[in-house]
Point group: C2
């Protein structure tokens, strides 16, 4: 089973993402490297020893709905209790409300480990953290005083209610409505779907954040407001009062993350016929500015989903490697022991395992670098803060889409490495693939991430920000050239070629946008995002390999450069010359 | 739901794979094009109207084991009865035993449609057909007289028993044993795993073909013999006699194809204590030549698995397209109707759907071409037969590995096109992905197919066969150049570049093998197989588009050429320059 790779995570944080430099520059307050190591070690221990053992039972039992109440799998409620008691829910929460206010870098590293332990478990607290962030930034003092401390500690959990049947990627189509009562509260009516942990037995209360429209609100996304709708009302002394009219009508039967209850929530269905109908809610932020409130946290949520991709990939990689070291079949050139060779010695299996490792590490590096940028933005000022916020904005869609694609691909390779055993549910390899498959879809599909990257992030700072970023990646390859380090083979040459491809494709898309060739830009978005991630990945692997003496990192960077990064050239051509054949292909989509 | 694409299948058979030319040349006996169309239409109707509606119930109920008996899902037994009554089981069976002896081209086309209907259903008869083939080619007259007619009609089903816990890809490790009784029969002892339809309620009897070792047989694969072990003995009048000691001990809980019972079979466990122990079996073919008997049918089995890949891809593509035409979100450049645009108009969704269609059609073309070669080999003589047998041998691993990878990839894209709905089991998109995931594993993993292609198929005819094949593909592109046909964009140029890459990689691997650089050849096998398929695919799409006036085929060929075939260049470099970084990367596989 999974063991948290604390050393690799710490190395990536410190030497690839920039944690050590940030510490050295005093950018992270009184946080020390020792404390970082201690927190990572403890988070890893919790993931390895406490979360991972409950992954399988969660998958097998799933969440069960009966009479509008959801029961989580055996042992899960107690796991959640130990989780909150350990203070893990409060890791990044605001210090004013009991949080530890630690950097995003530590948060994403811990999230990775917990998600490797069980994605179905870790996703619940992730949603709570999102609710904390939205409430902390946009909620009134009264709402904060009532809800924040308990959300930070994890005594209560939070949910995010965006999607409706007709409004998925397009929130403009949202129909849930909110009617002002006149006393500062609102009556909420509507149906929300795909609400993660919308109902469960972990906590006594659940705090729903719900998007809805006020009467006479403008059409589209500028007429959406955000409301806080508690499952139980909170009395002035903090105790729980009456039940609100917010109920789970059904839970989904999903491909994976079975233990995570995915709820259809009905607000204001009038369960208590003697009361006025409507679920009572409180406005968060300003009227009609709900989407802006959501967007402030959506980037972090996307980064959290990126961590799910990294997490599943890492768990799948470890499991496949262990199987390949144990399972013996046939003879192999690299094995001169007795009897059949462990299959890890077969070239094809080796290729699979190295591909898994390289892709996982690239995804991790991008995501951690994004978290680093968020921390720099938070602790910086003026142009510096702006610079780092742009960096975070640039890397967020790349981290989300690439890492979640990697999660699926690596989990699928993991099944393959197991051979027939991989198809048997008992092994657990297939369950990782089932879990992984949602991550490219939710929090904005990967197609939408690519569009976001191209249309909103490439233009940052007049197009200069992304160029500066590519320049930094080039500096890594230049450092490799200057180092004369052994064992890198053609790494520098291949990685530079990929960066050339990235620069050329970036220019092309920036010009296409400037010239109003929107459709061409949209058509190239998905291959561009992958090209971006691969080219960045080569530089990150080199950066990590140059820091320290570990031969494993050197050979991995070389494998990636000589086997995987080359895809960049085909992706570049797809971006630059593929659009017309796509746009003009309607005839092939008739049937 | 799925509708059999009979027109596209017929077009591919006739104009891409070579069915029409074979008919024109009188190579297929008295088969006429009208008869071909009639059979395809009826097979399609059966797949669409009879098989497809039972796919979901099969997935949900699965096969159930109780007291060593397996119950198939509701309605499935009756579906199988209608299937045999329609004569479908006998399509390619030997005419002497009631079969129709139709060409493989028709068989694979029909198999594709039935597997699109339900892979869990179609896999059962596929195994029976394999047993028929082995028995017909290698069985004694007595065994044939007793079993063949009923296996051909489908009154009984057959199974293939190869795998044991320690012997998967490496059959040399096989341990099941067979002791001669002295009366021409053998007592079989051993455990076999992953036995598809090893036990079920479709038929009164089940005919197991079992690999086992005779006493004092040579070690390794040269000491394996093949035995026929019926579930019930057959009396001289053809009626069923006593129960044999061949029992299903358990069935697997699998990721997909739930309705297909995957059995652990125990032979000779001594269930009847008053009898001598051992399951009674009859030798098929010669002693110690069991693997050769199996190999004669293994190629066809691999092609049958290739059809599962094509089938799932086609079913997933149709379902995703229907969803994308129906589901509306946001605005799109290509849509000027009212309200939100059907998502098929969004560039990213379009890319996904076109990718699904192109990959599916490429996989189909390769597989049908392989079937064509088998038919030519069967009906040819001397050098001609040899040539076509080599062609079939060359294309079989490509068809199996590429098509099954495509099945997984396309099914995964299908989930993505559905957005959140794709992750909900009710939709059925995820079930296709779950079903698809076994096909790259069984009948020889795709890694093993690649090794087979490189080490056994590239050397055919002193390395000339594959070169001749590449020359034929070049002729397709040359025909496109000469045609001056509209709408192909840069198709010729891109496809030719891919064929250059294929030729170069082929030369490299042939030289590596000749020079004894085995490990380098093995390291490049998997990327080479994909390169082979993509380069061939471009030519096949062009061939199909040049035959007829359908604009859809033209734009699809162009999309493939300008967006997908370029991957060939990266794959070529991976083959030629990727091996060293793989072979020397052990340090990265320690943990």
């Amino acid at each position: 089973m999974y063991r948290a790779p604390v050393d690799e995570i710490a190395h990536t944080l410190k030497h690839v993402a920039g944690l050590r430099a940030a510490l050295d520059a005093g950018r992270l307050g009184d946080l020390s490297e020792d404390l970082v190591d201690a927190i990572l070690g403890e988070a890893g221990r919790f993931a390895t020893d406490e979360v991972t053992p409950l992954r399988k039972i969660g998958d097998e039992h799933g969440a069960v709905l009966k009479d509008a109440a959801v029961t989580t799998p055996p042992g899960w409620k107690d796991l959640y209790r130990r989780w909150t008691e350990g203070g893990w829910n409060a890791l990044t929460g605001p210090e004013d409300f009991g949080g530890q206010g630690l950097p995003q870098m530590l948060s994403v590293a811990a999230l990775e480990m917990w998600n490797s332990g069980s994605m179905a478990f870790a996703i619940g607290p992730t949603l709570t953290m999102g609710a904390v962030e939205a409430l902390d930034k946009h909620g009134s003092d009264e709402l904060k005083a009532t809800y924040l401390e308990k959300l930070v500690s994890g005594e209560w959990m939070g949910t995010m209610n965006l999607t409706e049947p007709q409004a998925g990627s397009d929130l403009a189509a949202l129909r849930s409505r909110a009617e002002p009562v006149g006393d500062g509260t609102y009556r909420i009516f509507g149906q929300k779907i795909f609400i993660t942990y919308g109902e469960h037995d972990f906590t006594d209360n659940i705090v729903h954040l719900v998007l809805a429209r006020l009467p006479d609100a403008p059409a589209g996304t500028r007429g959406i407001s955000l409301f806080l709708v508690p499952k139980f009302f909170v009395n002035e002394d903090g105790s729980l009062g009456a039940r609100n009219d917010a109920f789970c009508a059904s839970i989904e039967h999903k491909l994976g993350i079975h233990a995570s209850p995915t709820c259809t929530m009905i607000y204001g269905d009038g369960f208590a016929k003697d009361r006025e109908p409507g679920a009572i809610g409180w406005l968060i932020g300003e009227e009609n500015k709900g989407l802006a409130c959501m967007f402030t946290m959506m980037n972090n949520a996307r980064l959290a989903v990126a961590m799910q991709g990294v997490a599943i990939a890492e768990a799948a990689r470890q499991q496949a490697l262990a199987y390949a070291q144990d399972r013996r079949q046939g003879k192999a050139a690299g094995f001169d022991g007795e009897g059949m060779a462990p299959i890890v010695h077969h070239a094809d299996v080796k290729r699979n395992l190295l591909t898994m490792k390289a892709l996982t590490q690239v995804a991790r590096s991008i995501a951690y670098s994004c978290a680093h940028a968020l921390d720099m933005a938070r602790t910086g000022e003026g142009d510096d803060a702006r610079h780092w916020q742009e960096r975070a904005n640039l890397l967020t869609p790349v981290a989300k889409a690439f890492a979640t694609d990697v999660g699926v691909d690596v989990a699928s390779i993991g099944v393959q490495v197991h051979g027939g055993m991989g198809y048997i549910e008992e092994t657990g390899a297939a369950a990782l693939l089932r879990d992984a498959r949602i991550a490219p879809i939710y929090e904005g599909t990967n197609g939408i991430q690519a569009i976001d990257l191209v249309t909103r992030k490439l233009p940052l700072s007049g197009g200069e920000h992304v160029k500066g970023y590519i320049g930094e990646l080039r500096a890594d390859i230049e450092a490799l050239r200057k180092s004369n380090a052994d064992g890198f083979g053609a790494t520098a040459e291949r990685c530079n070629a990929a960066l050339d491809d990235l620069a050329e494709a970036t220019d092309f898309l920036q010009r296409a946008l400037a010239d109003g060739r929107q459709e061409e830009a949209l058509a190239g978005a998905t291959p561009y995002l992958r090209l971006f991630a691969l080219a960045a990945g080569g530089a990150y692997l080199v950066r990590g390999a140059l820091a320290g003496e570990d031969k494993a990192r050197v050979v991995l960077a070389r494998f990636f450069a000589e086997n995987l990064v080359d895809e960049a050239s085909a992706l570049k051509r797809r971006v630059i010359a593929g659009a017309e054949s796509l746009v003009s292909a309607d005839a092939a989509l008739a049937s």
